[in-house]
């Protein structure tokens, strides 16, 4: 009898355990919120073209800016003054006497954009894209350039924005991705320097004078120096003390002859 009681108790215990277990399971499912599966993010493609081209474009932007800013903003100055073995474009000039200068490049910033664009377009086509192609092929991928390359350059404070439109298709492991345009942002003060150059030309055209000392006080980031040559040409050098980049411009106006 005692043995029976004992068995019954044992069964009870098992039942209790079972109930607790079931209750726990139920409770678990009641309390536990199963992680909501989220659809995995779409693949980023087989190759990060943007990152790859970024360094290539940046390199050429830096290169062309370093070429043009000592020369007044132009790759090949046409109307220039040679100073310290550098051809410096006249931004504002009057060959006569007394009269203020006449703007030779009233749309200087636009022209600089053009200079940058003209320089980097062929280099992207001949250097960056072939390099990209080689890199992708090295990774057993394929790239196909579908359309023409169009490029636009914009300038802003401390920035050069390059927008490259080049339709292309990359295939790797049966996965294909298409690209249409790439946007690059290069940190460079060319806009700042060109803006100051325009301001100098503007002041010179109106007042035959630019108060560069005062400018330095208002804008301590920039150092402007002026050198007047014997033929009444003023060479302004604008230095961005932050990046150490220097832009030169030549201006001739309000020239004063000796005597009459």
């Amino acid at each position: 009898m005692a043995k029976k009681i004992s068995n019954r108790g044992q069964v009870t215990i098992w039942i209790i355990i079972a109930v607790v277990l079931v209750a726990s399971i139920v409770l678990f499912f009641l309390i536990y919120q199963e992680p909501k599966l989220i659809k995995p993010a779409e693949s980023e493609g087989v190759f990060d073209m943007q990152s790859f081209l970024d360094s290539c474009v940046k390199e050429y932007v830096e290169e062309i800016v370093d070429i043009i800013i000592p020369q007044g903003g132009f790759t090949k100055p046409e109307n220039y003054k040679i100073f310290d073995n550098t051809k410096i474009e006249y931004i504002c000039e009057n060959i006569g006497f007394y009269e203020p200068c006449i703007q030779q490049h009233p749309l200087l910033i636009r022209e600089i954009k053009g200079e940058i664009g003209n320089y980097i377009v062929p280099r992207i086509e001949s250097e960056c894209l072939p390099e990209l192609k080689r890199e992708i092929e090295k990774r057993n991928g394929e790239i196909e350039f579908l359309g023409p390359l169009t490029l636009s350059v914009d300038l802003g404070e401390d920035r050069v924005y390059v927008n490259v439109e080049k339709e292309s298709k990359i295939t790797k492991n049966k996965e294909t991705r298409k690209y249409k345009e790439f946007k690059f942002e290069v940190i460079n003060p060319v806009y700042n320097l060109a803006s100051i150059a325009s301001e100098i030309a503007s002041q010179e055209a109106q007042y035959c004078y630019f108060e560069y000392v005062g400018y330095k006080i208002l804008y301590p980031r920039y150092t402007i120096t002026k050198f007047s040559t014997s033929d009444s040409v003023k060479i302004y050098t604008i230095e961005d003390t932050k990046s150490k980049k220097k832009m030169n411009i030549a201006i001739r106006g309000c020239a004063v002859p000796a005597g009459i």
Partner: protein
């Protein structure tokens, strides 16, 4: 009866006629006796001629001060005109047909065709609008420039537009206007229309200030303010995701750039602590000090931002500790504390107990300490970090020089540095940002400042220029060769900007005193010197003629206008020359002259021509008039022209016109001009006035602190007031009325000659004016020659006759004397010239009317007397005039003669009348008229007869006296002309005070106390005629060098020895002014001469710059001689002589014998003047070798290191001649040495040396070798064996062998896999070496068997090379690097390594993402870190537009090896997630790996 009546009628008629005539005669006498002017009736129409009227209109309207009927309007017009003039100081109204170009047009007559003036003329003509054509594009790329028509084809790439630029029609491509770029928002004034085309570009035919779109204002953005156009503001705002009115604001009321940036527009950033959970175990928060937007962008929780609280504030419970260090902000704006997290805190402020921590709250700058105090802008430098550029300090590293600047707390490295400028002695001399003028000499007028300050008082005196002129009676003082400089103190450095040379620009300055401080701030600028304007204010020749015709009032008005314009112009002054002391003298005039006279470039023909033209305007001639009187010859007019005052005043004008006349240059030396030539005939008297000379010399010295005020506003105000006062009552009508009167009364003429004393023609003022003008610019010249008689006035046809000549009251009828036209005759005392003041016929009419009613017996008697007196007096006067004795007689004598004759004539006439009356039974009684009672003609016939007889005798005496005077020459007029010639100043031939050309730019004290300035061509070449400027192309900032040459010097340079240049072992001997010898000092080898293997460097010096040549022939022609140093122009010349060169100078040398040769040096100076005689340099050469052989390299003491294991060493010694050489391990004589070198034969190698080689056995680590040689091996065994020279001493060479081999101890990387995310990863190859000579070596590497290259860092024991760029770029895959090292001795070692490079350029991917109990979990395909943003960063359009580092880092689950990342998930937010692998690969900017929005993708 009828007969009687008829007779009476006849008598009455006769008397009436006599009465009329006598009235005329008496009126003349009366006016003559009382000096009442009588004017000519000629052309007294009262209306000007058409030509005159035209000129008057021009004068009134174009004089610069439009005169209207309304005086108030006059004042306004005048003020406007002044304002315009002043405001255009910087620019000048250059394109208008006024100002300088008007002046030039006056200066250049229409018939004047100058030589090829090139650009100068094109500039002039271009501006003047006369001949210039506009070229749209020149061949050298210039846009819209002007050329002469003749230049167009040569210079213009297109067809020239046959109009000057200023006259181009609308729509022309070269028409200038303002170019507005809508896409940039920028404007450019003076832009050619053709260059301003395209999309979003607009061209305005207005100046920039007139274009609304170009007006700048303050663009206030969230965190900064910018001064720009509204369009620019719009663009700028858009780039930050803002719009005007929504986050950005454009305030057009703020029109000042400083006000926008630092004043009313200043934007104080709203910053504070941005607290976030750091995950630190200690529970502290992380924190960054940033703006609210940025904080929200980072945390997505606005509550995390604590405005104006520092991260170190205790309540924030961050892990940032306060005040860890001090640093400067970018651009040096403030010295701040930074906390341990690197966050900026408050300004360093040691005056506060917590150094400015402020209990963790932001302390506004205004409440912080102040660096400056009182007079000291850096008074609290040691305790305060509130640096401010505007107050002259900036944060920077502490300094020691020129003064010590640091914080009191020595542990800090930064301080608010004083930006002021210091002199070398450490004295603070200028404030930062200030600019000031520095002059090389006195400038402007003497006491110009005093004149300016007195303007207000002076201008209260209407209508008179006397006080003004008197104050400026001096001269313009700028010295020849001087220049104006503008200096600036910027960041502690003084920058010098020269104004345009030749004083084409002047430096002007404003000073402002800081209230409550002793500090004075100054601002200076170089601006155009408008000296031409001054000259242009003066009437030109044509105008002068017209003014002369118009009469004295026209002259007065012309002077008024000229003076007003002249004084209103801050660059001009009215120079008044008046040497006359009596009111009747004529030599005085006023002339508008430059206050800052220009310099001239006399080195060119054009420059000299223009100088002569300008200076010539002050050339003038004064005619002194002498008259023979009863007491002898007396000067009657312009007597002072022979005095020193004349010269001084004329010279004052002359020196004021430019570099003209008698004055000193800036060095204090008189020019080369001969003062004796300046004043002809009389010679110069200036020299005898030491005070005057001292004044002239004193102008050479700059006056400390002197400056030219730029305070135009105040000047305008003063002058404007003065003008309005002066113009009061001068409406156009009255003015013309005055002029009309003058013209009407003036009468005709217009010829320049003045007749003096009837037939004595004298060139009057016209001539003086014409001569003075030289180019047609006439003086305002009063020219009136007075007769001492008082009754005869010789009036020159004065050009713009100055009113003071006669000074008629304005509005009154001018007297005849004031009539300045025509061939005015000098009327002598008693002359009966019929002139009339009133309209013709008026007086006559009166007389006619009176006649019928006044004729009676008594009147008849009086009439008879009067008629007789009049006739006699007139006849006498006529006689005096005809005989020309009037000028020599005093008025009393003239009156006596005429009076006597008149009374006599009267009495005789009465007597005659009485006789007629008696015959008719009539009695004539002089009744109640005048002389009644004196004579009773009818009753005293006998008495009458007696008186008549006496009077006839008196008349006869008068006539006799007159004849006697005439015979004696009384009244004879003689002239004496004093001519002053103003010529261009010329530099002194030589500097008498010892100023050297080479000193140009040095040691001349400028007005600011500095001594250095850039030497220019002008400043150089005015020191003396010996100076020539050579531009320094290498250092253009210093100008150039000024060298001494003498254009008139016919003496060539003097040559002397240059003692400090000579090859060491030689010396100069027998130095004289004719040459020197060169010999060896110590007779090495027993000889003092140069042998065939030696060379010697020597030098000569010249006393001036020159070129030198040399030859062995004393009398060689200079051109055929050999160049000395390539013919360089210099004062010091050197030459290296080699024996082989002797062939150039000596035909043959005797072998084995000493030869003395002389090299003759000749030099020429810049003018090609040869040196007086050849300078002989004696050298001796010994073709026979008497020297012992010598190794051409130093081998004695040489220690040669040899590689490890070397057993044999080849020792190679180059000798200077063929030798036999031997060696030994012991130092023994040549003959005892056991080992021989193998030496080359007679032929030297390409380097001209003879090599000897020996193989030295190396048996130990150190081997001693002793070497000796003997020359002339060809003589071995011959009779001349004893001539061979042998080394007396051995050369000792030590050969050291390395004790161990060179080893490459390590080479990395080795046999590993290198992973990189870079396209061209940088991999450093490193190696270490040991052993060999000393362990150091040069190591080379090759990549995959490629070309070897030297390690970038090598040469020691450690060698590194970073691969990854250019040729060293590595691609993915296995690579083998071979390294080879070699030390200096020759030990070498090699080693190789290999590694595999795996380049990972692929950005990581998220493979899974899910919500795990409120946690956002992402799983990536590679070990990475992920970050996210909830909202875009301020200023960016997209929340994916961030870099990994800018996002909030997600937690990396432990044990997931960087594959699983999580963060708390807030379903109300969007999570923009980016991941970055260890190679920094991440998805591009603007893209996210995944975006989870509200818990869903």
């Amino acid at each position: 009866m009828m007969k009687l009546i008829r007779k009476n009628y006849f008598e009455s008629f006769f008397q009436i006629i006599l009465l009329i005539v006598s009235i005329f005669a008496f009126s003349y006498f009366v006016s003559f006796a009382w000096e009442i002017p009588v004017v000519s009736a000629q052309q007294a129409s009262g209306e000007p001629t058409k030509e005159q009227q035209s000129y008057l209109d021009e004068l009134v309207k174009n004089s610069g001060f439009p005169i209207a009927d309304n005086p108030e309007e006059n004042a306004n017009n005048a003020f406007d005109q002044l304002s315009r003039t002043q405001l255009q100081d910087y620019v000048g109204d250059m394109e208008s047909d006024s100002g300088v170009f008007s002046f030039l047009s006056k200066l250049l007559p229409s018939t004047f065709t100058p030589p090829d003036w090139g650009n100068l003329l094109s500039g002039f003509l271009g501006q003047n609008g006369e001949s210039a054509h506009t070229c749209p594009l020149s061949k050298d790329g210039k846009i819209c420039q002007q050329y002469l028509p003749s230049q167009c084809e040569e210079k213009c790439a297109e067809e020239c537009i046959p109009k000057p630029r200023s006259e181009l029609p609308d729509g022309n491509e070269c028409k200038l206007g303002t170019c507005f770029d809508k896409s940039e928002g920028t404007c450019q004034p003076r832009s050619p229309q053709g260059e301003c085309t395209g999309q979003n570009i607009e061209w305005f035919d207005n100046s920039e200030e007139e274009v609304l779109e170009c007006r700048k204002g303050c663009c206030i953005l969230e965190e900064e303010s910018l001064f720009m156009t509204s369009k620019q503001c719009e663009i700028q705002a858009a780039s930050l995701g803002l719009e005007i009115g929504n986050g950005a604001n454009f305030n057009s009321d703020i029109t000042s750039e400083p006000d926008c940036l630092y004043g009313a527009g200043y934007v104080q950033k709203k910053e504070g602590a941005c607290v976030f959970q750091s995950g630190d175990s200690n529970g502290e928060n992380g924190c960054i000090f940033t703006t609210q937007d940025d904080c929200i962008g980072r945390t997505g929780d606005e509550s995390k931002f604590h405005l104006n609280e520092l991260c170190s504030k205790e309540e924030l419970n961050t892990n940032c500790e306060k005040q860890k260090e001090t640093k400067c902000l970018e651009n040096g704006e403030g010295l701040y504390w930074f906390d341990s997290c690197g966050n900026r805190e408050n300004i360093y402020d040691a005056s506060r107990s917590d150094s400015g921590w402020n209990e963790g709250d932001v302390l506004p700058l205004g409440e912080s300490c102040s660096v400056g105090e009182g007079n000291n802008p850096t008074a609290n430098q040691g305790t305060c970090g509130n640096c401010n550029r505007f107050f002259g300090n900036v944060c920077g590293e502490k300094t020691e020089e020129p003064i010590e600047q640091k914080l009191d707390d020595d542990t800090q490295d930064y301080v608010c540095l004083d930006l002021g400028c210091y002199d070398p002695e450490g004295n603070r001399i200028r404030e930062h940002g200030t600019s000031w003028c520095a002059y090389q000499s006195d400038v402007g007028l003497p006491g110009a400042e005093q004149i300016s300050s007195n303007f207000e008082i002076i201008n209260l005196i209407p209508g008179e220029f006397g006080p003004l002129s008197d104050l400026a009676a001096g001269r313009a003082t700028d010295s020849v060769g001087s220049r104006h400089f503008r200096k600036s103190c910027i960041d502690g450095k003084i920058v010098t900007d020269p104004c345009a040379d030749y004083r084409g620009e002047i430096c002007v300055e404003e000073r402002i005193k800081i209230p409550g401080s002793e500090i004075e701030l100054s601002s200076a600028a170089c601006r155009l010197n408008r000296w031409q304007e001054c000259l242009a204010y003066n009437p030109d020749q044509k105008q002068a003629q017209l003014i002369g015709k118009a009469g004295p009032m026209a002259g007065k008005i012309a002077e008024f206008l000229t003076g007003t314009q002249c004084w209103a112009d801050p660059d001009c002054f009215l120079k008044k020359v008046d040497v006359a002391t009596g009111s009747m003298d004529s030599f005085h005039f006023s002339y508008c002259a430059p206050k800052y006279p220009p310099g001239f470039d006399l080195s060119t023909e054009e420059g000299r021509q223009s100088a002569e033209q300008i200076c010539g305007q002050a050339s003038n001639e004064c005619t002194m008039v002498y008259v023979t009187t009863l007491s002898g010859k007396e000067c009657k007019a312009n007597c002072e022209c022979g005095e020193i005052e004349f010269e001084k005043k004329m010279n004052d004008l002359c020196v004021s016109l430019g570099d003209c006349g008698f004055k000193a240059n800036y060095a204090g030396e008189l020019g080369g001009i001969d003062i004796q030539q300046l004043v002809s005939k009389e010679g110069a008297k200036i020299f005898i006035d030491p005070l005057y000379l001292a004044a002239l010399f004193s102008h050479a010295n700059a006056i400390p602190g002197e400056y030219i005020k730029a305070d135009y506003g105040a000047l305008q105000k003063n002058i404007g007031g003065g003008v309005s006062n002066l113009l009061n009552g001068f409406g156009e009508g009255p003015l013309k009325g005055l002029l009309g009167s003058g013209l009407g009364l003036g009468g005709g003429g217009g010829l320049p000659d003045v007749s003096l004393g009837g037939d004595k023609a004298v060139k009057g003022g016209y001539i003086a004016a014409g001569a003075s003008g030289g180019l047609g610019v006439a003086m305002l010249l009063g020219s009136k020659i007075a007769s001492a008689s008082g009754g005869t006035i010789a009036v020159g046809p004065a050009l713009a006759n100055i009113p003071v000549t006669i000074a008629p009251v304005e509005g009154s009828i001018p007297s005849s004397i004031a009539i300045t036209n025509g061939p005015i005759e000098i009327t002598q005392g008693g002359e009966a010239v019929i002139t009339y003041a009133g309209p013709p016929g008026a007086p006559g009419a009166g007389a006619t009317q009176s006649a019928p009613f006044s004729i009676g017996p008594s009147l008849s008697a009086f009439s008879n007397f009067a008629i007789g007196a009049a006739i006699a007096g007139a006849a006498t006067s006529f006689l005096i005039d005809v005989l020309g004795i009037g000028p020599g007689l005093s008025p009393g004598v003239v009156y006596g003669l005429v009076g006597t004759a008149a009374v006599g004539g009267g009495v005789m006439t009465v007597a005659a009348g009485s006789a007629i009356a008696a015959e008719g039974g009539a009695s004539a009684i002089v009744g109640s008229y005048g002389i009644s009672g004196l004579i009773n003609v009818g009753t005293a016939g006998i008495l009458q007869s007696a008186m008549a007889t006496i009077m006839a005798g008196a008349v006869a005496v008068v006539i006799i006296l007159i004849i006697v005077f005439a015979v004696a020459g009384v009244g004879k007029v003689e002239e004496k002309k004093i001519k002053f010639e103003c010529k261009p100043w010329e530099p002194p031939i030589i500097s008498l005070i010892g100023k050297k050309c080479e000193d140009c730019g040095k040691n001349d004290v400028l007005s600011d106390g500095s001594r250095e300035f850039p030497c220019s061509k002008y400043s150089c070449e005015t020191i003396s005629q010996q100076c020539e400027f050579i531009p320094d192309s290498e250092r253009p900032e210093v100008g150039g060098i000024c060298v001494t040459v003498d254009n008139r010097d016919t003496i060539g340079p003097t040559i002397s020895v240059l003692e400090d240049v000579l090859t060491d072992e030689y010396e100069y001997r027998d130095i004289s002014d004719r040459g020197f010898e060169i010999r060896k000092k110590d007779k090495r080898g027993g000889e003092e001469c140069i042998n065939q293997f030696e060379s010697v460097l020597f030098g000569i010096s010249l006393n001036e710059y020159g070129r030198c040549k040399l030859s062995s022939e004393e009398n060689a022609d200079f051109d055929s001689m050999s160049d000395f140093e390539g013919g360089r122009l210099a004062q010091k010349h050197t030459y290296t002589f080699r024996e082989v060169d002797s062939e150039l100078f000596v035909e043959s040398l005797s072998p084995g014998e000493r030869s003395d040769i002389s090299l003759y040096v000749k030099c020429e100076d810049v003018q090609e003047n040869p040196s007086r005689e050849p300078f002989a340099i004696n050298l001796c050469i010994v073709p026979r070798d008497v020297s012992a052989p010598r190794a051409v390299i130093v081998i004695d003491g040489l220690e040669e290191l040899l590689p490890y294991g070397t057993t044999d060493y080849e020792l190679n010694i180059p000798y200077n001649e063929p030798v036999d050489a031997r060696w030994d391990n012991e130092d023994v004589p040549f003959d005892e040495m056991e080992n021989e070198f193998y030496c080359a034969g007679a032929e030297e190698d390409i380097n001209g040396v003879w090599h000897c080689t020996a193989h030295i056995p190396i048996t130990s680590d150190e081997t001693d070798v002793y070497v000796r040689a003997r020359d002339h091996p060809e003589l071995e065994g011959s009779e001349r064996e004893n001539e061979r020279n042998t080394n007396e001493e051995s050369a000792h060479v030590t050969l050291r062998r390395s004790s161990s081999a060179l080893e490459i101890d390590s080479l990395a990387p080795g046999n590993i896999v290198i992973k990189s995310g870079a396209l061209t990863p940088e991999i450093e190859i490193s190696a270490t070496t040991s052993g060999g000579a000393d362990g150091t070596a040069s190591c080379f590497l090759s990549i995959d068997g490629g070309k070897e290259m030297l390690f970038e860092n090598s040469g020691g024991t450690s060698h590194t090379q970073v691969l990854g760029a250019g040729n060293s770029a590595l691609s993915s895959g296995a690579h083998v690097i071979n390294v080879r090292c070699r030390d200096e001795v020759g030990n070498s070692a090699s080693k190789s390594t290999s590694f595999t490079l795996e380049i990972d350029r692929i950005s990581p991917k998220i493979t899974r993402v899910y919500n795990d109990n409120g946690k956002l979990v992402v799983i990536t395909n590679e070990p990475v870190q992920c970050s996210y943003l909830n909202v875009p960063i301020s200023g960016r359009a997209s929340a994916c537009n961030f870099k990994f580092d800018e996002g909030n880092l997600m937690n990396v689950e432990g044990g997931s090896e960087g594959l699983i990342h999580n963060t708390n998930l807030d379903n109300s937010r969007t999570y923009h997630i980016k991941c970055q692998d260890s190679y920094k690969n991440e998805i591009g900017i603007g893209e996210c790996n995944i975006v989870v929005k509200e818990g869903v993708i």
